[in-house]
């Protein structure tokens, strides 16, 4: 496109001649012979070059100065009488590209126009570069934000597995470790991991992925899914490798929970089958007892059906306790109330099986912070197991369980439960709190003591067990009076194991 020139000169004849000359050189020329006409043009549209005699009016000088101030890219060439050139130079200095004395030397004018055109092209280039640089800045900011704020751990590593850059999430969880070795920061190792995906990427330039367990600066373990990507220089050589790790700990926990739920269903179904058979047996005894008018059989049957209904109810409750995610709901309650509630739940079972139940609950033990529902269920479970251990023992004639409540030296409340039942062998003792372990065959689900133990643990308590096969067992369950510091204790729900 032809460059646009405004030619401002009071001598219309001279201007006309010059216009024709300049137009021959492919410029688009518009003339103005008065300041007002020039002003009108300049207000409407700005040219690339202004060819002007500044002395055509007093206002022309300030007008030109304002144009140049607001639009520095407009090129101004001054044409004036020789005796006014110095004055013009004093006024405009270097703001003007060229000063030409009249009468005009056409070569001087040509050179001035060429210089102006070059300036215009250079300015346009500079403008384009500036635009690009600001675009680059924008892109760099965006990439930086992406790098910093992306919700996964990103590190850039050199060939020695030293971290050269790390994003915010990485720094938050693993510290500001630029310069440190990846294997040390992620895994606290002295040397590179044998299946390092970064090493593989350095070798073949491809992206690699692995699943790892890493340890944060707070000592927490995370399951992470790691992917790598090569970073190449302008020659295409791999200089660094970027490693992106997504924290999939929650997914893995959920998977574990699902797996254990599956295991639980398997274990449950066996127990449920036994219970249904016994329930079926109860119904049979009831029907035949009624038909035979055998009151003893009817009574026994009704008792059996009730027992089975209770067992099924307990099993369902255990499943719910296990499957449900629930925070502990702490309440203050007196130790006496807690212990009394437990005793009244267990007493009928002990009496039914002729097991002596010896209880000692001092009245002055004060209040304790517990989740009553969980804590009662847990202690009842320990006591019911004691009764079951007595019922299973066929060697001794008389059986008894004891339930003594006291305060220990560490200012904890302790529940001591003893029985003279069958006792446990070492294997049973070691595995008794393991999920789905049961020593009761079809009578057990393997959930009861697992849950009971967890409840005590989450209350910040401990369970100590002593047992001798054939002689009996002793459980000492101690919990603090006050709710434990949750930041120190493991996370609930119970399902996260």
């Amino acid at each position: 496109m032809a460059k646009k020139i405004y030619f401002i000169d009071s001598d219309e004849k001279h201007a006309g001649a010059l216009k024709t000359y300049i137009e021959r050189q492919q410029y688009d020329v518009t003339c103005a012979s008065t300041f007002d006409a020039a002003r009108l043009l300049l207000d409407k549209n700005l040219p690339d070059i202004i060819l002007v005699d500044p002395f055509i009016s007093d206002e022309m000088i300030s007008c030109l100065e304002s144009v140049k101030r607001e639009n520095p890219s407009v090129q101004i060439i001054i044409l004036t009488q020789k005796d006014k050139l110095d004055a013009a130079m004093d006024i405009f200095g270097s703001k003007v590209i060229h000063y030409i004395a009249m009468p005009i030397n056409s070569k001087t004018l040509d050179l001035a126009l060429i210089a102006a055109s070059k300036n215009i092209s250079r300015n346009r280039k500079i403008d384009r570069y500036s635009e690009r640089i600001s675009e680059l800045h924008g892109t760099q900011d965006l990439l930086n934000q992406l790098f910093e704020k992306v919700p996964c751990y990103i590190s850039v590593q050199d060939r020695n597995f030293r971290i050269t850059a790390a994003n915010r999430k990485f720094r938050q969880h693993f510290g500001n470790q630029v310069g440190g070795h990846c294997f040390d920061i992620y895994k606290h190792r002295d040397s590179k991991c044998h299946d390092c995906p970064v090493a593989e990427t350095f070798q073949d330039g491809e992206s690699h992925s692995t699943e790892e367990i890493v340890t944060s600066k707070f000592g927490k373990q995370y399951n992470v899914l790691t992917r790598t990507a090569p970073i190449r220089n302008e020659k295409g050589e791999i200089t660094q490798v970027m490693e992106m790790s997504t924290n999939i700990t929650q997914i893995r926990q959920l998977q574990d929970h699902l797996v254990s739920l599956g295991l639980m269903l398997g274990s449950m179904s066996h127990g449920v089958k036994g219970m249904l058979t016994a329930l079926d047996g109860g119904v049979y005894q009831l029907e035949t007892g009624l038909a035979k008018k055998d009151d003893d059989r009817v009574l026994k049957a009704s008792d059996q059906i009730k027992t089975m209904a209770d067992k099924i109810k307990n099993m369902v409750l255990e499943i719910l306790y296990y499957a449900k995610s629930r925070e502990l709901q702490y309440e203050k309650m007196t130790v006496e109330t807690l212990a009394d509630n437990i005793v009244s739940t267990v007493k009928p079972k002990a009496e039914k099986h002729a097991v002596k139940f010896d209880v000692s609950i001092p009245k002055d033990l004060g209040e304790v912070d517990v989740d009553p529902k969980w804590m009662e269920a847990s202690l009842v479970n320990f006591l019911e197991n004691a009764v079951d251990a007595c019922v299973s023992d066929r060697e001794k004639k008389d059986h008894q369980i004891t339930f003594y409540v006291s305060k220990n030296a560490k200012n904890q409340i302790c529940f001591a439960i003893t029985d003279n039942g069958i006792g446990m062998d070492t294997e049973t003792k070691n595995k008794m709190f393991t999920l789905f372990f049961t020593s009761k065959g079809s009578q057990g689900t393997g959930l009861g003591l697992f849950i009971a133990h967890r409840v005590i643990k989450y209350h910040g308590g401990t369970v100590e067990v002593e047992s001798e096969q054939g002689k009996g067992s002793q459980f000492c369950i101690c919990i603090p009076f006050q709710k434990p510091d949750t930041t120190q204790s493991p996370e609930f729900p119970i399902a996260n194991h």
Binding site: G274, T277, G281, Y284, R297, S442
Partner: protein
């Protein structure tokens, strides 16, 4: 003379149920709560049939079955396996029948009748 059936199961309620069921149907039922007691009772009463739960605490039914097979006086006693485990028919291949808990009462009586006749 009534045919004798020995019920081996760790669950007292199921033992009671099977004893009533067999007694009500003209058999004479005996009980054992574990493998050791089972062998002792089998030797004592020489039953015509044994019903066996293959999963009892601390016991494994197939082991009992092997002990039974090795005893010349007991090895010909037919065994019906009654278990809460699925796939248990593979555990005692020589059993005359394998029933899964909860079993069908009539089916059990039919198998018992056929076995004893």
């Amino acid at each position: 003379m009534k045919k004798k059936i020995l019920v081996i199961d760790d669950d007292l309620n199921i033992r009671d149920y099977l004893v009533s069921l067999f007694n009500d149907n003209g058999y004479e039922a005996y009980i054992a709560g574990d493998v050791k007691e089972g062998i002792k009772e089998a030797n004592k009463i020489k039953p015509d049939l044994i019903t066996l739960d293959i999963e009892m605490p601390g016991e494994w039914g197939p082991r009992f079955y092997r002990q039974l097979s090795q005893d010349p006086k007991l090895k010909n006693i037919p065994v019906i396996v009654i278990s809460g485990l699925s796939g248990h028919q593979y555990a005692v291949v020589k059993a005359v029948a394998s029933l899964t808990k909860p079993f069908d009462r009539e089916e059990l009586l039919k198998i018992v009748k056929e076995t004893l006749n």
